[in-house]
């Protein structure tokens, strides 16, 4: 049974998170000359910055900027700079562990661990059916591992219920992109940002979540006089410098975008020729947005009418424009709608597929882009293929050498898997690279669900908060302990180089999966000797799909500093800019307008819960913090979550800087220290989400999902707040 064997305090004492401040060998090494310098990438966001790791005696002792890598040219955020500190870490899992009630996690042999895992898989599946054993994965994994996980779940586990943590990240954008363009990728490489005239950042705190992108934006502003418009309820560092801020109330984005489109149509600032030649469905959208007026928009969104008009004017009159969005508009029960309302604005002006004209969602996770293309998403097969499409199923079955009938169908999404675990329908779980106890909403529910599992095996390199519940923990590999490829937010496929070997008994992740597959009697489908052999199969599996990697090889990536997919042939140069000449990925070559009508968020604001809560990242942490909360410099900057609140709102509740505040939603409550700042809407509070336990803000967020993308509504919860009167004074 998946329960904590000993108290959390004891687990933390043994497995952390502990902060590591000093590199291997100490700061004052008299001999800090590395044996090797490995050109690889940062693991801490979708930009996948190039970095050089300095290696000595199988330890990473430091970093050097990689100035020749074209995306970041040596630039790094603090996560990149300190990324090497995750290696040689005292918390590192070094041996397979078994959860023994009352005793803790005891090291066991790999043989014992493997046989326990396989026997439990077999027992649960024979007792309750194949789909009663689920797998959860993550997109910090390389393309090769993502591909392998997809194949492993479908062929070795034969379960439909495989999903991944990208469900909390990119899926609204992906679904919106597919609906509008027939393809799920940033439409441009970032080079087009440099050539544009108006940049609109919607719900993307570029300065903290994609810091290198700020320089692209500034360059366009400085060299071309480009204007920057930021849509965000908070004044983030990038919003502070914007030419125009549209500080929307959380959850009202599509109202704003519909209004902007309406204003542009009224002003005649649309490209009718482009609409006629390259799109379908504009008239319907035009009719819908006609009902979205500026006055109403100001009331709903809380953005001053004048700002709305200015934005419509700037976007409408621009010769070139670039729209960037991220989780701020995507983490909603109408995340896909919000994305589509943005795309409608782009399509109506025809400013896509040309120099300096573009559109992109900013992937948050390391390999959020590549990971979702190759099959650990419950509804997708490699190459961005659809698991319900008979032709696609046929093709992949052939590549995998299985009968199409044995290929499971569409499974449940990440949150739905957790719901089914809670409902007792899914009994067993294997997870890798996912910490749902921190990252899924309503974490009280997640905790209950985990405790109901009959068997839970977890592959990870640190004891994540979720791993604590596992019956068996298999020590896997860090980013720098394996090689492979990854695909950046731009759609650029890049090479991850192995810098060091996994320490002690830890193994490279894919070796663990291959061994479990072998023990499940599926050895013949998993004849891989290294990452490259997996990539070779991935190339073939993706061939003919929208995310076509067939023309990409390890050799090419290294020589060309990355290759943009689609790249269908070896001689193909890759595709940095999509949709050139107005050609989209529907069979008719046309893009689709989608009607979006504004709907309120699932969690209603009322007298009892009068305040908007929104959540997000800080620059010092990555996702659930499993890695960054263990890196001293990063954790020191932001060791705990906090509540950002405007002085007007704080005053109303008698809250001063540093006061403890109880925040209550319809699900739970947490107590956090207040930071009273003028840089947030006075009707909204913000809490960063990277932490577990009593102060985890995801105890308050809700499990309500977008009907299409199944993304949870992290960015808007109704809450009430009260000052906690601290006793024992």
């Amino acid at each position: 049974m998946a329960k904590l064997p000993i108290s959390e305090e004891l687990i933390i004492e043994q497995f952390g998170p502990h902060s590591k401040h000093v590199p291997p060998g100490g700061w004052d090494q008299t001999d800090s000359q590395p044996d090797r310098r490995v050109k690889t990438h940062c693991c801490f966001c979708g930009q996948q910055c190039g970095i050089i790791l300095k290696v000595k005696d199988n330890a990473i002792i430091g970093f050097d900027p990689w100035e020749a890598f074209p995306f970041n040219k040596g630039k790094l955020c603090p996560k990149g700079v300190k990324r090497y500190m995750q290696g040689s870490h005292p918390d590192r899992l070094l041996h397979p562990l078994e959860n023994r009630r009352g005793k803790g996690y005891e090291p066991v042999s790999w043989e014992a661990a493997y046989s326990r895992v396989t026997s439990e898989i077999e027992r649960i599946q024979s007792q309750y059916g194949k789909d009663s054993f689920a797998m959860l994965s993550g997109v910090s994994l390389s393309n090769e591992k993502s591909y392998l996980v997809g194949k492993f779940a479908r062929v070795a586990l034969q379960t439909a219920n495989l999903d991944y943590n990208g469900r909390l990240c990119m899926v609204s954008a992906g679904a919106g992109n597919k609906k509008a363009f027939g393809i799920d990728r940033a439409a441009n490489s970032w080079a087009d940002i440099l050539e544009t005239d108006v940049i609109l950042c919607a719900g993307t705190n570029v300065s903290e979540c994609a810091p290198i992108t700020t320089d692209y934006i500034w360059k366009a502003r400085d060299t071309r006089g480009a204007k920057l418009i930021v849509v965000d309820p908070r004044i983030t560092p990038i919003a502070r410098t914007a030419d125009l801020i549209l500080p929307v109330r959380p959850g009202t984005d599509s109202f704003l975008f519909n209004t902007l489109l309406n204003l542009m149509i009224q002003a005649g600032d649309i490209d009718q020729a482009f609409i006629d030649a390259h799109t379908v469905g504009f008239e319907e959208v035009k009719k819908t947005v006609a009902g979205y007026t500026v006055d109403e928009c100001e009331k709903v969104t809380g953005v001053p009418a004048q700002s709305i008009k200015t934005a419509a004017l700037w976007w409408g009159k621009a010769k070139r424009s670039f729209l960037l969005h991220a989780r701020g508009i995507e983490h909603h029960t109408k995340g896909v709608d919000n994305v589509l309302s943005c795309i409608n604005m782009v399509l109506a002006t025809g400013r896509i597929g040309k120099v300096g004209c573009g559109y992109a969602t900013i992937t948050g996770q390391g390999n959020g882009q590549g990971g979702r293309e190759h099959g650990h998403k419950c509804d997708q097969l490699p190459g961005n293929r659809d698991i319900t499409n008979p032709e696609h199923r046929q093709y992949i079955s052939k590549v995998w050498g299985i009968d199409e009938k044995d290929l499971p169908g569409k499974g449940l999404s990440a949150q739905e898997i957790m719901n089914e675990i809670h409902a007792g329908k899914i009994r067993g779980l294997l997870s890798i690279c996912f910490n749902p106890l921190v990252s899924l909403p309503d974490s009280g529910f997640t905790r209950e669900a985990l405790e109901k599992l009959e068997f839970y095996a977890n592959i990870d390199f640190f004891m994540s908060e979720t791993a604590r519940y596992a019956d068996v923990i298999l020590p896997g590999s860090l980013h720098e302990e394996d090689e492979g490829t990854s695909t950046s937010a731009e759609g650029r496929v890049i090479r991850l180089q192995k810098s060091v070997n996994p320490p002690a008994e830890a193994k490279v992740d894919w070796e663990i999966l291959l061994e479990i597959a072998r023990r499940l009697g599926k050895e013949k489908y998993f004849d891989f000797k290294d990452s490259e052999s997996m990539f070779e199969e991935l190339r073939v599996a993706s061939k003919g799909g929208t995310a076509d990697y067939y023309g990409i090889t390890y050799d090419r990536i290294e020589k060309e500093m990355g290759v943009f997919w689609p790249c269908p042939e070896i001689g193909h140069p890759g595709t940095p800019r999509l949709f050139e000449g107005g050609k989209f990925y529907y069979p008719d070559g046309k893009a689709r307008f989608n009607v979006v009508t504004y709907k309120p968020s699932a969690d209603a604001i009322n007298e009892e819960y009068p305040i908007y809560l929104t959540t997000g990242r800080v620059i010092y942490h990555y996702l659930s913090g499993t890695q960054t909360r263990r890196i001293g410099f990063l954790n020191d900057q932001c060791p705990k979550p906090y509540l950002e609140i405007h002085p007007l709102l704080a005053e109303k509740y008698g809250i001063a800087e540093g006061d403890l505040v109880k925040i209550t939603s319809r699900r739970d409550s947490v107590q956090l220290k207040a930071r009273v700042v003028k840089t947030i809407r006075p009707d909204t509070v913000f809490v960063p989400y990277h932490w577990a336990g009593k102060q985890s803000i995801n105890r308050l967020t809700q499990r309500a999902l977008d009907p299409v993308s199944k993304i949870p509504e992290f960015k808007m919860s109704a809450v009430r707040i009260e000052k906690v009167v601290e006793k024992n004074l």
Binding site: D28, D31, Q33, R221, D222, G225, K227, R240, T241, D243
Partner: protein, 350 residues
Amino acid sequence: MLMRLYPAGILRGLLGVAILSALVVLGSRKLIYFDAALVPYLIATVFAVFGSVYRYSVWLSRPPTRVLWQRSLALVFNKNFFANTALVFKAVFENMVLQKFIGRRSAYRWVMHFLLAWGCVMGFAITFPLVFGWLHFAHPTGDAYMYQLHVFGFATMIFDPYGFIGYLFFNSLNFCSVMIIVGCSMAFARRLIHPGEMTTQTFANDILPLLILMAVALSGLCLTFSTHYLGGQHYRILSTVHCWTVVSFLVYLPFGKFFHIFQRASQMGAQLYIKEKQEGSLAICPKTGEGFTSQVQKGDVKTILRELGFQFEPDDQKISVQDLSPAARRQLLMTTQHQRLKGKFDISGQ
């Protein structure tokens, strides 16, 4: 490079030489106990004393150094004289004897520096008195076995040359040599592979002093080796080599890196400033409200700046940048940029 000579420094240097000479004559009982073989050492020492006193004088004439010393004396000689003196002694013990602050810079460097510093200081504490004839050994009257130590010509303790004390006396320089050799090796190791040191070091300032120390210590040890294991073979040539290494050291002393041994003394002044900041009245920043230093030290720094021709005060003399805390000065730059750009972040776009 021709430097302007500093007459007061020359006078003080000559005075130093005169005092030393007098002490040598007195201590060696009119040169009776002066060993003529040690003349090169004496000449080099005289040069070193002149050079060091001269340079120290020049150094003290720099306004910041002069103000620090004047302030240090003023801070010691006030109503808390005894407490201040205690603080100075404590600081001398911690900084000069134990050299604790180096340990906090790096443990490796502390070990290295401690060995070098004490190896040198002990070595000179033994050799200078011998060279100057202040110490000599003789058989006590009527005893051809025991030794007696004479200090400034006065007979003192009698000891067994093959006993423990004798062993210490005759091997102390060997211990010093070993300390210096180990310390030098550690320093060389650092300088050969530490990337930071490699880029900033210079031969004259960082490598040469180590080479000199190493040469002194090694040639000194060779003398012992020759005496004990080679039956005195090569002793003459070795002693000449050793002599020249020591002479190089003494000649280098006033001009090179070793001069920091004397400069270190002003660290006591720093300690007194710190105490003043803790106990005296604070200079409060008008922007941040932070007490960032003592009124006394801020005043001293302003005095030095004025004396050196800096004009940080505006015409009305009311407030200068030195009245702001360092944190406020950093904000000043950001604020000034903000205002020069009129609060707009893309000035051309407006």
